[in-house]
């Protein structure tokens, strides 16, 4: 069974390869939109906790508040998405039966079980409708919780890249070197963007700097990743994933430019911040979709493996 590229007009020359009636060799993940949404929300939460802790230490109250609230809502929504995606949501607690370093999902569960309560506590203290007695009760724990959340945040932002890469999904596995950098960059630009939207312009300086630095890391790592992935990089350029990736790039560049220019304008700053957040969403969905597509088309499994064998 010789089979040509599925989408008619391939960018690179056709790779001829053999497959079983064009059927997939590996299975795409059964994950739905919950998982790319969580990838974004986890990154947003992590970056926000870092900004909040820095703002707390440097007396920037509106940025601290923005960061803690953004972290609280992001991680809560992310947690809901994770449980919702399970085949048996009622068995969520089974994740806590074991601690397995060979399972990035197990490692992530334990990271989240430290990060989640810490970010939750710090965020709860910023809720406007919190009763006074609760506020007093939480009082002494809020700053330590914020610091604990910030300390675990980098792990929250980066482990998801290992989670995707540690699979037989060609686009994710071949991206294993650069994907963590794409994800932390995306987390920083999203959280910075959210800080620019929510905090006062006088407090938002660090959010702008984090957003611009994150955008640069994300764009550079993504470009490098497409170079090193080999054939599966096609899935980041074609189809729906390609559209999302182009949108992500445009939004991230526009947002970073806006962040650099609109330092005094609240309107421009908020607009740029929203573009960065949207860019991060698009990046996560693009990488997720690319992986699914790379698993559905046997070309991306067979051709790189055949080339590897032929080199031996």
């Amino acid at each position: 069974m010789k089979r040509r590229s599925s989408d008619g007009a391939p960018v690179v020359p056709d790779a001829t390869f053999t497959s079983y009636y064009g059927r997939p060799v590996v299975k795409p993940s059964p994950w739905e939109k919950d998982i790319p949404a969580y990838l974004f929300l986890g990154g947003m939460a992590a970056g926000s906790s870092l900004l909040a802790a820095g703002a707390d230490g440097t007396d920037r109250p509106s940025l601290r508040r923005a960061g803690r609230l953004s972290a609280l809502f992001s991680i809560a929504l992310g947690f809901i998405a994770l449980v919702h995606d399970l085949g048996k949501p009622s068995r969520f607690v089974n994740m806590l039966r074991v601690a397995k370093p060979t399972s990035p999902m197990s490692v992530g569960t334990w990271i989240l079980s430290v990060y989640g309560p810490a970010a939750g506590l710090a965020g709860a203290a910023e809720l406007p409708f919190l009763p006074q007695f609760l506020r007093r009760l939480l009082g002494p724990f809020v700053r330590p919780a914020g610091i604990a959340a910030a300390a675990t945040a980098p792990a929250v932002a980066s482990y998801t890249a290992v989670l995707l890469a540690d699979t037989a999904t060609p686009a994710w596995n071949s991206a294993r070197r650069e994907l963590p950098f794409v994800f932390v960059g995306s987390a920083a630009s999203a959280a910075g963007g959210m800080g620019m939207v929510l905090a006062s312009t006088s407090d938002a300086g660090p959010a702008r700097r984090l957003a611009v630095a994150g955008a640069c890391v994300e764009l550079a790592a993504e470009a490098r990743m497409e170079q090193s992935m080999g054939l599966p990089a096609e899935t980041l350029r074609n189809g729906r994933a390609g559209q999302l990736m182009r949108a992500a790039r445009a939004l991230t560049i526009a947002g970073a430019a806006g962040a650099l220019m609109g330092t005094r304008s609240r309107v421009l700053s908020a607009l740029a911040g929203k573009a960065l957040v949207a860019g991060s969403v698009c990046t996560r969905f693009a990488i997720f979709e690319a992986g699914q597509e790379s698993a559905r088309d046997p070309k991306y499994t067979v051709v790189p493996q055949r080339e590897r064998l032929d080199r031996r």
């Binding site: 060799v25 440097t58 980066s158 920083a188 992986g291």
Partner: protein, 294 residues
């Protein structure tokens, strides 16, 4: 973390079993498979697997498609305009000249029960475990259906079962158990028991390897030069399979990956990259707060 790749002759005891029988597995000799699908049926009957669809796929006699949550044995059918070894077909004496050489490949695929099983490595609940026989089995009452094992498997074997809510084990990962319950009682797996040509052979993995090597040699002597073994080499990317095959063409012809590698092999490097990225984020966030306030 234990051993993540390479040969591992003591896979069950390394998984924590104190006393282990010799490692069990399959040798599927596709050169004698007649495509009767008795293995598919016996597997479904014994393991009480729900139906996987009554479809006509238009791929020779294969209307099953692929291994999956409700398909633990899958017979592949491949029609090729080639001769089987030095077989005399007499097609050249046929009344029409439109017929040429022809051979029909059939192969019963199954979970490979890898020495380094990615599904087991990445399972976050401990539902997937290594049995005393060295096989890999899902514990139905523990799996929470996270689905991570599905993209992890380099062979596309394990799958999360879908269907109406009343379907048995719906929502959780399912695959071949190498009939763990039958092994415990001293029986061979249902598919091997049902196979009428001994294409599916069950036994001690060490012995099966010897048998497989002898069989491929015999076939080569008889002129079937394209016979080759698949999954028998402990030096391969999965540390050798618990279910090996004798194939008559390249693995990808049968829908098998030509050079499978357990992704966990590279996990230490992946964690290192993630650690570097995490430090980059921490440093970036810290330096965002350095500088004059405006």
């Amino acid at each position: 973390m234990g051993q993540l790749s390479g040969p591992d002759p003591h896979v069950a005891s390394n998984a924590g079993w104190a006393e282990t029988p010799s490692r069990k597995g399959f040798f599927t000799d596709t050169s004698v498979c007649i495509g009767c699908k008795a293995c598919e049926v016996a597997c479904k009957e014994w393991n009480a697997i729900p139906d996987d669809g009554f479809n006509l796929l238009g791929s020779s006699y294969d209307n099953t498609g692929a291994l999956g949550a409700s398909t633990w044995r899958h017979v592949a059918f491949i029609e090729q305009p080639r001769r089987f070894g030095e077989q005399q077909t007499f097609f050249d004496q046929a009344p029409t000249d439109s017929r040429g050489d022809f051979r029909w490949l059939m192969s019963s695929d199954v979970c490979k029960h890898c020495t380094h099983a990615a599904c087991l490595d990445v399972c976050p609940t401990g539902s997937l475990f290594r049995t005393e026989f060295g096989t890999v089995v899902v514990q139905d009452d523990i799996c929470n259906g996270c689905g991570y094992c599905v993209p992890a498997c380099p062979f596309g074997v394990i799958e999360r079962r879908t269907g109406p809510a009343e379907t048995k084990n719906v929502g959780i990962a399912q695959k071949c158990t190498l009939c763990y319950d039958r092994l415990d009682a001293g029986h061979m797996p249902a598919c091997a028991q049902a196979c009428p040509t001994e294409s599916i052979q069950f036994g001690d993995l060490d012995e099966l390897r010897v048998r497989a090597a002898a069989r491929v040699e015999t076939l080569h002597e008889e002129g079937v030069s394209d016979a080759r073994l698949y999954g028998e080499d402990p030096g391969d990317g999965i540390g050798g399979a618990g279910a090996m095959f004798l194939l008559l063409d390249e693995p990808e012809t049968y829908g098998l990956p030509p050079d499978p590698v357990v992704s966990t092999r590279d996990l230490p490097q992946m964690w290192k990259q993630a650690g570097l990225a995490a430090l980059t984020l921490l440093a970036g966030a810290a330096s965002a707060f350095i500088g004059r306030r405006k």
